[in-house]
Point group: C2
Chain length 344, copies 2
DNA sequence: ATGCGATCTGAAAACGTTTTCATATATTAT
DNA sequence: ATAATATATGAAAACGTTTTCAGATCGCAT
């Protein structure tokens, strides 16, 4: 690999001059500049980012810590983030906390050790001393999908409560009264807010909450599967089920199908977070769609913004959700033929 | 952030001594060692990886370049990679070429500039001068999911031909004769190998290939959708369709459902690459499953291995696929109740 | 002629590590 | 006692950049 030294030697100038043309500084004579440019070309020189970062504290890396890379939601968020950051020549250092606080803490420290320009994180729980310290120390941070408590930091997420509320209202409107909820973890604001939406809609309709129909999962497929198997064995099962995320919904559907139940006749299902294959499920799944890609885009922009203006007050962006009405709650009469084109 | 200098000062020793205890060198007196350790603890010191990388050419970063992060296949591969690498204290710098050779080349250069310890890449096409040069220069590289031509590099992929062959045999066995294929791009070995499997099975059965039933997509949902719409309008449509990847399959199913066709009565469908929600599709989708996670694991191991032994000859690992028989080809009589537990 | 900005350029310091080299002390063998 | 080794430590160089500092050259007004 050629270094700046090689370039300088070949162009017959000093290191400083090479560095100056590299960084577009003024006061470089045209002749030298072109000699340097030629040398760079000839040697196929690319500046070493590690050295740049060490010296200049100018970093081209942004750290991303997700709680579960396997979730298609985060994959889309990542696309959004990358879309914006790569425009600015920034790249992404990604890691997966796997909903483990220790891993999250380690990765956070690692991001610091890598001198990232900023951090985008979906935290494992709502208070994190490690993250708090990092923010305090002035590292630009954007939090996605959930809120931190007692920490003033840029945040972007979907309107979980109103999304969940929409979902439950939809069920109620279709005549459902015994409505079960498969909640996410209540240590996360997303879990609590979706539950709050459930309570809100039930309250509006004057429906009592049956504690036996309030279940808690962990946002993974497996918990959707096992809890649904139990749910189906209830002496007096619900007529509808609201599932608080996409991964659990997959498990839920698999369990229902395995049990030979019919959706929506035996049990209506509505899921939080849309997926592209929802139309082709049996039956097409009604969901609350989050603008996942857009969440990534906003988070990245917010981060860039903060890197540029570190002292601006923190802000929270809440994006609206959309109800995607399909057949799994009994809304559309016919099974498949009815949908509009929904390939995107 | 505390530096090694601060630690040295606080412990009353030289930089070298601190570095030595940090790296577990012999010949450090117990007393000094514990003083240093105390200082590290007290200052909450973490070595700066950027400086480490610059000086020691010892890197804790591995670059990963995928051609499409949104594909759940790669997400699983990534989990496998991360699983192995994080055991070794290595982290992953990820980027997304989006099936664009220029982007792939840029990212490759960037990985070099970041001084990664190695590179895992799903290349956009089978010959890449940039990648070839990098390999020649001795950077450890592992290629996944497709082969490079004329480049001796560690590779790990699924047995595409035998997988596709299995799929077609299955269709033939169920009585299908007019079998269509929605191929992947033929510039990729995965595309060609899956096509070869199709040809092989058709040949074995003595069936002619109808050129009008050989279609080409780009491994994206959209192409599956649009091409299927055309396919369904054929004067003499096929009775079965083999789709060469998971994303296209989603588009295919969406188009079929939108058209109001029944699977498998009007058209049988079999997909390459299994997905967790296959059981809950309408009808449950028969697929050829690749060991995605395992591909990631193997690639990571191969890379570690090469980092340790740079001169070992290159090797290619081909992993077996599995036929997941469900209802979408007419195999299982009943629709849903029949499956075993398939949640994982 | 002299002084003074403006325009250029290179030497050297700095970033935070690791590693080489030199040196000092303690231990063992002659 | 002396030499030879093993153990322990610090000073300084090195990694590849950017940036500060000090000069050098030039044009131009005094």
């Amino acid at each position: 690999m050629a270094t700046i030294k090689d370039v300088a030697k070949r162009a017959g100038v000093s290191l400083s001059t090479v560095s100056r043309v590299l960084n577009g500084h003024p006061y470089v004579a045209d002749e030298l500049r072109s000699r340097v440019l030629d040398a760079i070309e000839a040697l196929n020189y690319r500046p070493n980012r590690v050295a740049q970062r060490l010296r200049a504290a100018r970093s081209h890396l942004v750290g991303v810590i997700f709680s579960d890379v396997k979730n298609p939601f985060y994959t889309l968020v990542l696309s959004g983030i990358e879309h914006i950051l790569s425009e600015q020549g920034l790249s992404v250092l990604i890691s997966n906390s796997n909903t483990n606080q220790d891993r999250e803490d380690n990765f956070t420290a690692l991001m610091l050790a890598e001198e990232v320009a900023g951090l985008i994180v979906a935290p494992v729980q709502e208070d994190s001393p490690v993250l708090a310290e990092v923010v305090q120390n002035g590292l630009p941070v954007a939090v996605i999908d959930r809120r931190m408590c007692g920490l003033s930091v840029d945040t972007v997420l979907a309107d979980n409560q109103s999304g969940a509320c929409m979902a439950i209202r939809h069920l109620i409107q279709l005549g459902h009264r015994r409505i079960a909820i498969l909640n996410g973890p209540q240590r996360l604001t997303s879990g609590r807010e979706r539950y709050a939406g459930f309570l809100q809609a039930m309250g509006e309709a004057g429906l009592d909450i049956d504690p036996g129909l309030v279940w808690y999962g962990d946002y993974q497929m497996e918990s959707g599967y096992t809890l649904t198997r139990e749910l189906l064995r209830l002496p007096q099962p619900p007529t509808a089920l609201f599932v608080a995320n996409n991964l659990m919904t997959i498990g839920v559907l698999n369990a229902i199908h395995e049990a030979g139940c019919n959706i929506p006749e035996d049990l209506a299902v509505i899921g939080f977070d849309d997926v592209p294959w929802a139309v082709s499920l049996n039956p097409p799944l009604t969901t609350v769609a989050q603008p996942s890609f857009e969440i990534g885009v906003r988070a990245a922009r917010l981060l860039l913004d903060r890197i540029a203006a570190p002292d601006r007050p923190a802000c929270t962006t809440v994006l609206q959700t959309r109800l995607m009405v399909r057949a799994s709650c009994g809304a559309a009469g016919r099974r498949h033929k009815t949908q509009q084109s929904e390939r995107r």
